[in-house]
Point group: C2
């Protein structure tokens, strides 16, 4: 099955009270995980935009940073991250991310059930 880029579902929304909006386009739709997860998105954060602090329950999330520079909050500890860095938020833990650079941040986000 091939889904063309133009056929993918995209949206922009404020996330967990984070600054600005998160722009996302779905790689898989929620019913395409064979029950193993619920989110696989290509995310864009413009400078200053971010995803607010939130805790994961019954699932875990992976951010894979493709482009840009961001500040990642890993259970209260803030760290600067860049291209190629991988951030994992296990079940029960919390995280947030903000684009603190001057160019767009691009992330692949994956949420699987734990």
């Amino acid at each position: 099955m091939i889904r063309r880029n133009s056929e993918r579902t995209s949206f922009a929304k404020e996330m967990f009270g984070g600054p600005g909006v998160m722009k996302a386009s779905q790689i898989l739709n929620a019913d395409e995980f064979c029950g193993k997860g619920r989110l696989f998105n290509h995310v864009v954060l413009e400078p200053g935009a971010g995803v607010g602090l939130h805790r994961h329950k019954n699932d875990f999330e992976v951010y894979y940073l493709l482009k840009g520079t961001a500040t990642y909050n890993d259970n209260g500890k803030e760290v600067e991250v860049g291209p190629g860095d991988v951030m994992v938020c296990p079940d029960g833990e919390e995280h947030s991310i903000v684009n603190t650079g001057t160019t767009d941040v691009e992330i692949i986000a994956l949420i699987l059930f734990s």
Copy 2:
């Protein structure tokens, strides 16, 4: 948990008799899926390189094409794919991909259990 780009596992190997080698760097390692999958990689195929035809059994694979142009074989049907296109090979089906362009192809590959 943060894994820096420099700490990620990378490798290059021939895949299923495909031309050339596939270069890949792991986003998650095999023991980090909470049992839901087994592969989440950033893949690079140089011009002419590809992953040979293979059938999935007890899992399914998603390719998300970030850069470049490739020919994707979807159960025997060849289709040209480009940036932003999503290719899903469900359990029991077969696929292959070859970089038929002049620049590197970059793919995010995800295998979850079905």
